[in-house]
């Protein structure tokens, strides 16, 4: 205190008023306030689902009291849905579809991205842009022509039809992420590998895939989320409960005529949402690193 105070009093030295700390504090408050508002808005629906899923049918139907509070918590909805063979079927379908779609997507998009990012060939730039443009066509538009194609292949009302069409949603974006990630790998690395004796496939397997692992994980999570949560395509292409994934199974089959089993629907939806949440929680750091890779690396 003495030193700075003394300096401030020196003749000819003007001390301009201001406080870095105050500015920073103000920025922090603004950030916290807006984040809290955002968190409340986004967390309210899942919280309401949780609350509803813990209520009995009677309590859900009852109009009295605050709907955000559970008076007699029960897990009966969860037991009911777990023991429901239909729900188990939906879960199994979702798992099969997603596993296949993720595998197909990653194989296609890694190979495509490697070729587009590294093997300079005629039209590769245009192709890369074209791949991304296909991502801009919404599935709500795409399902009409796809219905013809899937029907023509005899795959309507089959999970294999879904495995075939989901990659139209996942491959373009995953390829795009991977192109960015591969492009951030220094050119000298492939040249060194070429001189060391690697063939193109060896270079991809031994250098590019390990080095780009964060990007690959990010793309995998994306493909997983998209195919787990897909709604339009299964709604359009699947009609019988035995072929339905969770997303449409829960909302269509747990309704008996005009009776909505709200507790079970909420419990089912929450359980359906669980796998992505778990995966995000564990792989979030990779996901962010993957999405921002191109931005920070030279």
């Amino acid at each position: 205190m003495s030193a700075t105070a003394a300096n401030r009093d020196l003749p000819g030295i003007y001390h301009k008023a201001g406080s870095l700390r105050a500015e920073r504090r103000w920025a922090m408050w603004t950030a916290y306030a807006s984040l809290i508002v955002a968190a409340v808005i986004f967390m309210a629906p899942p919280f309401y689902m949780l609350v509803t899923s813990l209520k009995t049918s009677g309590e859900i139907a009852g109009m009295a009291g605050n709907p955000w509070i559970v008076r007699e918590p029960t897990l009966e909805n969860y037991w009911a849905i777990i023991e429901n063979p239909l729900f188990r079927g939906f879960m199994l379908n979702s798992i099969i579809i997603t596993a296949c779609v993720v595998a197909v997507t990653m194989v296609i998009s890694i190979l495509a991205a490697f070729a587009l990012a590294r093997m300079r060939f005629w039209g590769s730039q245009m192709l890369a842009t074209g791949v991304f443009l296909t991502y801009l066509v919404p599935d709500t538009l795409l399902f009409i022509p796809l219905y013809q194609i899937v029907g023509g292949l005899g795959l309507l009302n089959s999970i294999w039809g879904l495995v075939l069409v989901y990659p139209t949603l996942t491959v373009p974006f995953c390829t795009w992420i991977m192109i960015g990630y591969f492009a951030s790998i220094p050119k000298e690395l492939d040249e060194a590998a070429l001189i060391d004796g690697a063939t193109w496939p060896q270079m991809l397997l031994k250098i590019f895939i390990p080095v780009a692992l964060p990007g690959i994980i990010a793309a995998t999570i994306f493909a997983f989320t998209v195919s787990w949560a897909a709604f339009v395509y299964p709604t359009a292409f699947v009609t019988t409960p035995d072929q339905m994934p969770l997303t449409i199974g829960v909302v269509s089959q747990l309704v008996r005529a005009d009776t909505f089993a709200w507790g079970q629907i909420m419990a089912g939806a929450l359980m359906a949402a669980l796998p992505p949440v778990i995966i995000y929680a564990f792989l979030m750091d990779y996901y962010i690193a993957g999405l921002t890779a191109g931005a920070t690396k030279g």
Binding site: P186, L189, E191, A192, L194, I195, G197, T199, P210, L213
Partner: protein
């Protein structure tokens, strides 16, 4: 190990820009050749064509007597060290060095022996388990060299390997590279823009400019007998002084008439060589180290001249003085004890036995 021959090598890019304009070069077995030149002179492109990383537009490249124009890099039996090291970030030092051998399906024991021997030579044995990001710049450079050595290739290619290191480390690694070559004796082609690196490392230096070879020769030869004005100015630091002058015949002897009425006698030994150019405009080239302060010298043919310093730079072991003579910048190396002052005329000695005359129309040294 092998000879490398370049015959009429041309590299042209789309749009007709020629980076390399038909160069010829023969490199002997075990030789250490340095390609040096300013950026854009085609030296790196030449090296990359030898490596097989760039296609050749015209001409032939032969390694060990075999023309390799259309052979992929992996089958050329070469190893390359890159400017930014290009180590595989996900592999340990050991795996980085072993990678090339693993791909070539060498037996594990053989790989182990070779990696450990190379690590020994480069003094990186304690680092073998580390990942590249846990290494300093100098250590990474050693690993990159190790990766080349274990392969025991016919030719080593170095592409500005020291440019990313700080000045002190660069000098140290330069010595290191020379030591390695003395032990391993593989034919080496080394690209740099730094003439000091070129002079200190090379058996022969290849000076390139604008896609052509200006001169090839041992370092001392380039220093003492440059063939062109470019080589004369590029080799040596500070660079050679070029002063416009007129070669005159005066009472049987040749005299250089410089601006400001300065006249320097050309040594008799050079008379025959320069006689044909008497009466013509020339460029007088003399290195700063051959333009010193006026004190008794054992060197032959001292010629006195007086110039006024514009800038004085004391370096410790010597003092550099900069002058201006009719628009030409001139530097001289002075004894640090000389009391030189800006603006005070200083008497200098030009050591005329080290002079060069350049034909200003062709830029060739006469």
């Amino acid at each position: 190990m092998a000879q490398v021959s370049l015959r009429k090598i041309v590299k042209a890019y789309e749009g007709g820009v020629q980076a390399v304009k038909g160069i010829d070069l023969e490199i002997d077995d075990h030789e250490f050749v340095v390609l040096v030149g300013p950026s854009g002179c085609g030296k790196s492109t030449t090296l990359r064509m030898i490596a097989g990383l760039e296609e050749i537009t015209g001409g032939d490249i032969a390694i060990g007597g075999t023309i390799v124009n259309d052979i992929p890099p992996r089958d050329r039996d070469i190893a390359m060290v890159f400017q930014n090291y290009a180590l595989y970030p996900h592999m340990s030092v050991y795996e980085n060095m072993a990678f090339g051998l693993t791909l070539r399906k060498f037996p594990k024991a053989e790989i182990d022996t070779r990696v450990k021997a190379a690590a020994e030579i480069l003094d990186i044995t304690p680092l073998l388990d580390r990942k590249p990001k846990a290494l300093s710049g100098g250590q990474r450079q050693r690993v990159a060299m190790g990766r080349a050595i274990v392969r025991n290739p016919k030719v080593f290619l170095f592409d500005e390997p020291l440019s990313n290191l700080d000045a002190k480390l660069r000098v140290q690694m330069r010595t290191e590279i020379k030591k390695v070559h003395q032990r391993v004796k593989t034919t080496t082609i080394y690209v740099t823009h730094d003439q000091v690196e070129a002079m200190t490392l090379a058996d022969r230096v290849v000076v390139m400019n604008h896609g052509i070879i200006e001169q090839v020769g041992p370092p001392q030869e380039l220093y003492h007998s440059p063939a062109t004005k470019f080589v004369a100015g590029f080799i040596g630091s500070p660079a050679m002084n070029f002063i416009p002058a007129r070669l005159e015949q005066a009472s049987g002897a040749l005299v250089l008439a410089l601006p400001d009425g300065i006249r320097l006698n050309v040594p008799e030994a050079r008379s025959a060589r320069y006689a044909a150019h008497a009466g013509r405009e020339v460029l007088f080239g003399i290195r700063p180290e051959h333009l010193t302060d006026d004190k008794p010298t054992d060197k032959a043919n001292p010629a006195p001249l007086t110039l006024t310093p514009e800038v004085i730079e004391p370096m410790g072991m010597e003092t550099l003085a900069h002058f201006r003579l009719d628009g030409a910048e001139i530097s001289a190396r002075l004894d640090p004890a000389t009391p030189a002052e800006v603006g005070v005329p200083l008497r200098l000695i030009a050591h005329m036995d080290q002079m060069h005359l350049i034909d200003p129309t062709t830029d060739k040294v006469l």
